[in-house]
């Protein structure tokens, strides 16, 4: 194959030259070229090596269906493997490399694999390396070697340096494709006053009109295209999006589209995203995605120089490139004639047109005669010859079902048309099963029960003018469906060739052993398909999995139907009964970055900060993630590490006083005449009897009797409650309360409002807590008698109103002070001014955890959606005088089993040992399997001077009193003997609370 740039013609800008590199060599092309057209123009024949046999591969098509010219584009962090050279827009400085070859695509040592190809048929790897006696271990060993020798390009392992974004859009009509049908449909819809989006995967609008020579009415296809495109671009109701692929159609008229924003730019403006994901909600969708030409499975039909006929035509007419010097066109339908005519007109010698049929369509036949191209009827391609590229083609005469090999024709380009397959993918995404049409030898889009209309070649309409009518009809149908006035649609019927296609799927000649490829990308041959059928893989879906037919980047766009036809023949049933595999999104590959959009790195999820965030950071807090929240973890002094800092902080709380930000607690206002009754139903303990000005600890269950959350409820007034939840469950609890009030108990007059963001809260804990409050809180009598444990009072701090409750998570004398969020910093500063001089500390999440574990308070680690009240030792809280959610099912016999895992405390037998959360608790005589329980929370206890933990263990304390268990940690490789103790390590009587 020896392509060259024609002297004239094409939609390229010959006044400008751009340079690019392929496999380290420098080449030149023009704006308007694709990488494939520029490589062809430069005479580059071998672009890559095949997947399994390392056969040389060149450009086979001119579009997204490419299965041969797969290259790696870019370098370093921007290296993209398996890119179809036919769909890469050329730009100055583009660097591309051939794939899967060493040392180069022109001379590849791996090609030796091809010599042994008869020993690696379909399923070879599975049969050889898996199966009885070999086991998965052996497979995993071999797989590494197999993956190295068979494969495609390698992706970059560096972080993606580009940005991506998501955009949302609404329109009346979305048109996928901008060929004759798409342009006309868009115009019809716009003329009816509708808002239209036209998405075109190519960088130029026009589809096949970019190279079509068949006139549209009185106009040349080029003029017609320009007029339509201009009209659309003038309309303020139409958005035209080139370089944008509709990759999937989803429920509710939603389309997913990928826009390639900067891939074609040599020096993109740095603020532009590389790709943009469009999520479009369209009231009506018109699928005008065209059709893809099929190849024919003849010997060595994968050699560089064998190309789809329409692709050769498009290189000549759109890119001004001759794909070869001497061509043979092989066809089984009328479309090959136009290819032969256009190639000859462009200046390429056409040695012959082979038509598998016995007759020619009249008009084109006369034209060929005038040009002087010999037509050979009943003739098919048998075998291409030439090591690196086609040098000649052997043809065969067809008599009945038999083919007899005949003479050789010298040529370097074989332009093949095995018929056309409508692009039914998008319709299939909506659950419409393609239907095989025998007369067109094509799968047609099936009926669709949604506002999705297929037009043009995608509906099996072959003539350009019919495609225009079909597009107009689709636009009118959409307009009428949306209540606009539009003419009665006139639908052209599918087809349009003057002579029927006589499909040639495969050409087999006795004694001719050259491989006949169905799916060149995966090196699947016709022999592989027959083998798969003989071995029992009789359905299209099984065939795909066994042979890999139709997988990878091109998803079988060129080869699938041939494969199905050969399977159908082998099985002795019609193609219609064999069916196709299911087409799923995406139509063409979508970069993962596009799907992630801006949602990566720090924007992977929202960040929530408390009103005192800045204040903590100014005081040196090290922050940590707590769900979406950023919370102070610890406040290191003089180079302290975490372990030193939190121990100091916790010790200071128990010895003096500490301040901790508790703003992240979920806070819900529960208000209304029935608020008390509502809370009685939601919590296991009662609240309607709680006096105003008092708070109570509460636990709520799920319907199934499992603990959902815990927190405190403050009664501010008869009808006004303030509920706190754990930080982690704030959203869940709010949604749950809303659900109950709206779906289950609509008669309750209660309103719930999320007020988490409205209140800033600080815990003041430690024996000196009262002194600190006394210095800054106004209007509250803090004496024990006036403000007892679990009381709630309103006052003022730092000039703002505040709400104070005497609650304790640490087990010390403690208060929670809440102020409106805007006053959070001022409150903090005021409290700190009072606390710092008396040796107070700021304490973070780690010290908070240490203090609560010392007290045996449960938290998220223990409330893990598997534990019941009794498991946690909280059974006594449950009221027996009122019904509440979960009360009936918490009494299930299964939950009363004596071997239920229950909350206990653990301490290492050797007090010097460290404990790890997540360790498995086992009986010492059987350290194996799932053990008897697990360690949920651990900390070094500053009070006790050694490690302690909370755990859940079968039978609880009763079963394990005075026994030793082993905390086995196979992951971190340490086993620690532990004593099982009551889960209260510090002040078990709770006397400090009342200090």
């Amino acid at each position: 194959m020896s392509g060259w740039r024609l002297d004239e013609g094409g939609l390229i800008d010959r006044s400008r030259t751009i340079g690019f590199g392929f496999d380290g060599r420098r080449y030149q092309g023009h704006p308007g070229d694709t990488l494939a057209s520029a490589l062809l123009a430069a005479g580059v024949g071998i672009v890559g090596r095949s997947f399994k046999y390392h056969r040389p591969r060149g450009v086979m098509s001119a579009g997204v269906e490419e299965a041969g010219a797969l290259v790696t584009v870019g370098a370093g962090a921007r290296r993209d493997p398996n890119v179809r050279a036919t769909a890469v827009e050329l730009f100055d400085g583009l660097e591309a490399h051939g794939q899967h070859a060493w040392p180069s695509v022109r001379f590849d040592l791996g090609a030796i694999a091809g010599l042994f190809s008869r020993f690696i048929p379909a399923g070879f790897y599975y049969k050889t390396f898996m199966g009885p006696g070999r086991g998965t271990g052996a497979w995993m060993l071999y797989e590494r070697a197999i993956r190295r020798s068979a494969g495609m390009g390698a992706a970059s392992r560096e972080p993606d340096p580009d940005t991506y974004e998501t955009t949302h859009a609404h329109c009346d009509v979305l048109v996928a494709g901008s060929g004759p049908a798409g342009l006309e449909a868009a115009l019809a819809a716009a003329e009816a006053g509708l808002r239209v989006i036209v998405a075109e995967q190519d960088f130029a609008l026009g589809g096949a009109l970019l190279w079509e020579s068949e006139p549209v009415g009185e106009n040349s296809p080029a003029d017609w295209r320009s007029a339509r495109v201009e009209a659309l671009q003038r309309s303020d109701r139409v958005t035209c999006l080139p370089r944008t692929t509709v990759f999937g159609l989803y429920d509710g008229g939603v389309a997913g589209m990928l826009e390639r924003v900067t891939d074609h730019l040599a020096e993109p403006w740095p603020d532009l995203p590389r790709h943009r994901l469009w999520i479009v909600r369209a009231k009506q969708t018109i699928v005008a995605t065209g059709a893809l030409e099929r190849t024919i499975a003849f010997g060595n039909n994968d050699r560089p120089g064998v190309m789809l006929a329409d692709a050769a035509r498009s290189y000549a007419r759109r890119f001004g490139v001759a794909a070869g010097r001497r061509a043979v066109v092989a066809t089984d339908n009328d479309s090959g004639y136009r290819a032969a005519i256009d190639l000859a007109r462009a200046g390429i010698e056409v040695a012959a047109l082979l038509d598998s049929r016995e007759r020619s369509p009249e008009g084109p036949a006369a034209e060929l005669k005038r040009i002087g191209i010999p037509v050979r009827h009943g003739t098919v391609p048998v075998q291409a010859a030439g090591r690196a590229a086609v040098r000649r083609l052997r043809v065969g005469r067809r008599t009945g079902r038999q083919v007899r090999a005949a003479d050789w024709i010298e040529c370097d380009l074989v332009a093949v048309s095995g018929g056309w397959s409508p692009v039914v993918h998008l319709a299939s995404h909506r659950g419409s099963r393609p239907v095989y049409d025998d007369s067109l030898a094509a799968f047609m889009p099936g009926p669709i029960d949604e506002p999705v209309h297929v037009a043009g070649a995608a509906a099996g309409i072959w003539r350009v003018e019919d495609c225009v009518h079909s597009g107009r009809a689709a636009g009118n149908i959409a307009a009428r469906a949306l209540g606009r006035s539009a003419p009665e649609p006139e639908l052209p019927s599918p087809g349009g060739w003057s002579l029927a296609i006589r499909p040639v799927w495969e050409v087999r000649v006795d004694g001719q052993g050259a491989k006949r490829f169905v799916d060149p990308q995966n090196d699947v041959t016709t022999a592989d398909i027959r083998l798969a059928h003989r071995e029992g893989f009789a359905s299209a879906e099984h065939l795909k999995r066994y042979t890999t037919l139709g997988m990878a980047a091109d998803q079988g766009k060129v080869g699938n139907v041939i494969g199905l036809a050969i399977l159908a023949e082998a099985a002795g049933r019609p193609i219609a009964e064999t069916g196709t595999t299911t087409f799923r999104p995406p139509y063409t590959p979508v970069t993962l970055g596009t799907l992630a959009g801006r949602g990566c790195g720090p924007h992977f999820r929202p960040t929530r900060r408390t009103p005192m965030d800045r204040w903590h950071r100014q005081r040196g807090a090290v922050m940590t993630d707590a769900g979406l929240w950023q919370r102070p973890w610890y406040y290191p002094r003089d180079g302290e590490d975490l372990a030193t800092a939190y121990v100091r902080e916790a010790r200071a709380v128990r010895g003096g006083v500490g301040l901790c930000d508790v703003s992240t607690l979920g806070k819900i206002a529960v208000q209304g005449p029935d608020a008390g009754a509502f809370l009685d139903r939601v919590y296991v303990n009662g609240f309607s009897g709680l006096a105003a000005g008092r708070a109570r600890y509460g636990v709520m269950l799920r319907d199934d009797g499992i603990v959902m959350d815990d927190g405190t409820v403050w009664r501010l007034a008869e009808t006004d409650f303030f509920v706190t939840t754990t930080t982690a469950n704030a959203a869940t609890v709010l949604a749950w309360l809303e659900e109950l009030l709206e779906t289950r108990w609509p008669e309750l007059r209660v309103c719930v409002t999320a007020v988490t963001e409205q209140w800033a809260g600080m815990a003041v804990a430690g024996p000196r807590a009262r002194d600190v409050l006394a210095a800054v809180i106004e209007e509250i009598d803090l004496s024990d008698a006036a403000f007892p444990f679990m009381a709630v009072r309103d006052g003022r701090v730092a000039g703002a109103p505040c709400r104070v409750a005497r609650l304790s998570f640490s087990g010390e004398l403690a208060y929670e002070v809440m102020v409106p969020a805007d006053h959070g910093e001022a409150m903090c500063a005021a409290l700190w001014r009072a606390a710092e001089p008396v040796g107070g500390v700021l304490y973070g999440l780690e010290a908070l955890g240490a203090l609560r574990i010392e007290k045996g308070h449960v938290a998220g680690q223990e409330l893990d959606g598997r534990t019941t009240l009794d498991d946690l030792g909280l059974g006594g809280m449950a009221s027996s005088s009122k019904p509440f959610i979960g009360d009936v099912l918490r009494k299930r016999p299964e939950f009363a089993r004596p071997d239920r895992q229950r909350l206990v405390g653990i301490v290492p037998v050797d007090r010097a040992r460290t404990l790890h959360a997540g360790a498995i608790l086992c009986a010492p005589e059987k350290v194996a399997g799932h053990g008897e329980g697990w360690v949920s929370s651990v900390t070094f206890s500053p009070e006790l001077g050694h490690w302690i933990g909370l755990a859940l263990i079968s039978g609880g304390l009763e079963a394990w009193r005075d026994r030793i268990a082993v905390a086995a940690d196979p992951v971190r490789g340490s086993d620690v003997e532990v004593e099982i103790v009551a889960p209260r390590f510090v002040d078990p009587e709770g006397s400090r609370l009342h200090g």
């Binding site: 509710g252 659900e739 779906t743």
Partner: protein, 97 residues
């Protein structure tokens, strides 16, 4: 993407909602003491093929709980109403006048 016609906000992407389970379940009164009744309400679900009623919570919108009629086979959504019966009745009255 499903498009759910929220009676308060209009038609919105399902990404704004969270699924809230089967809306055909008859929940026992909170005072019901029969474990069997609770067991059936909590654990037993039909898996209908075709039209179905389910709860959706417009959690990133108006935060209302809705009853959505969805065809489990085609994903077609026939309609949505407030889960709260008084609100649903109010909207019906308004629509009638």
């Amino acid at each position: 993407m499903l498009r759910i016609p929220c009676p308060f906000c209009g038609e919105r992407d399902h990404a704004e909602f969270s699924y809230g389970g089967d809306a055909t379940v008859a929940w026992p009164a909170v005072g019901e003491t029969d474990p069997r009744t609770w067991y059936e309400a909590v654990f037993l679900r039909d898996n209908p093929r075709g039209p179905h009623r389910e709860y959706w919570h417009h959690v990133h919108g108006c935060r209302m709980w809705l009853v959505v009629e969805r065809d489990t086979l085609t994903h077609e959504i026939a309609g949505a109403r407030p889960a709260h019966p008084d609100l649903a009745a109010l909207l019906r009255e308004k629509a009638a006048t």
